[in-house]
Assembly symmetry: C2
Homo-oligomer: 250 residues x 2
Amino acid sequence: MPENPESPLQPMLRTLKRHCDLSVDEQAAVLALPHQVRIIEGGNYMVREGAQPDHCLVILSGFCFRHKILGDGSRSISAIQMRGDMVDLHNVLLRVADHSVQALTRCEVAVIPTNAIRAVAATFPHIASALWHSTLVDGSIAREWTANVGRRNAPTRLMHLLCEFGIRLEDSGVGDRLSYELPMTQEQLADATGLTSVHVNRTLKELAARGLIDRRVRYVAIADWKRAEEAGDFNSTYLHLAEQAPPLAG
Amino acid sequence: MPENPESPLQPMLRTLKRHCDLSVDEQAAVLALPHQVRIIEGGNYMVREGAQPDHCLVILSGFCFRHKILGDGSRSISAIQMRGDMVDLHNVLLRVADHSVQALTRCEVAVIPTNAIRAVAATFPHIASALWHSTLVDGSIAREWTANVGRRNAPTRLMHLLCEFGIRLEDSGVGDRLSYELPMTQEQLADATGLTSVHVNRTLKELAARGLIDRRVRYVAIADWKRAEEAGDFNSTYLHLAEQAPPLAG
DNA sequence: CGCCGGTTTGAGTCCATTCAAGAGGAGTGG
DNA sequence: CCACTCCTCTTGAATGGACTCAAACCGGCG
């Protein structure tokens, strides 16, 4: 058991431990990472595309999203992040941020210097492996999103997004997959699904009419999970939730 | 200089060294990885979604692509891979393959056991870091592809793909960005851009009519790189080519 | 109360799709 | 050598899903 159960870095440790066994020393090293807790208001930027940040953020509470602005001014949202997620792990090894991260709601974050993360990764191979693992899962989710916006129709796309959000909410211990507050405007949903906000509106209405979801202001309830998964062509394998990675020392 | 300039693993070493400095010992450790060279014919699978492979492939020559088959039978291609790319690095830490990899052309590959990679990563932090780095770049490319299929129109999407292919070809030392053999059918191009093969055909014709590309059977020539970049809303930053990662020991 | 961001709804348009058929080329086998 | 098959590429015509433009509605808040 880690020394300090109250450390703000517990959500990060939990993410790392999910897939890789960490010894007591390793866990202590994670919690001992220098950090600073900060509040970021909804709408504010955490990372800006093109910047060269020297720190990395871990979300303790709240939600944020990764996005890019394209040449014609349109926006593409490529991920939603929540408690325990490390939002710019990229900047630990990549010099220039290739996308922006913006708070969706008021967020509580822990700010960790990237060189501290590099140092701990250099000292503890299991931690390096856990960080790498987390990046691999990120990549898997990104590929699924590519498939989602590239090949699915509007209702399926949206339902898929709602399923993923529900499962990850539950998995990170901050909600229930069957009924949750969705912290996104319809315009943000549109940018995450490659649709327009108008069409998102109509499609949500259609999903409700088909009895798949029940929605109030920004609240979503899923009536029947099985049917929802079918309608969203959703299979959680790509999230790599339950897996335990093989130990590093082969 | 590494001991054996003729080792089949040179392309892999080159990929790793691109971003992270590796000592002579580290380079030797990479080249000393147990491996077996194999030929995979075009169309054959390298990894199948759902499988649990215990080896990892490095491409020595030829091309392959990552893809998923969705619930309705449609296909989404999420990446093209070429010389030096490690095609299923995922399987080093993730148990179940979340997508398939298929040869586009006849490929020469080196097969490396995943546990050997885990072992070398555990022993040499810089190698672990280089592998992690490679995964981060993969993720960045995946996000760009999500934006591409989600928010760009057909001509821009295709042009973007052609630009990326050209640059990566040049960067991996197997071709010229301004004129190359494109080893993909129009149906594969469609699955990589979220279009239909019919529309890919018409769009290629349009790009040619606009004087952006010159095409023969499966050969592409780009007349003016600057114009091509503009037409494809292409900015190579997301490929993280020229960067050198900060050394691990912070 | 009036503003404002977000949501909802309608009408018309368009980009990309679907369906369908023909052309071209490579490979196979009689 | 030609007939045949298979796959890919090409083209046309019609359809449709999602978009654009535009206006109205709604709830929260200063």
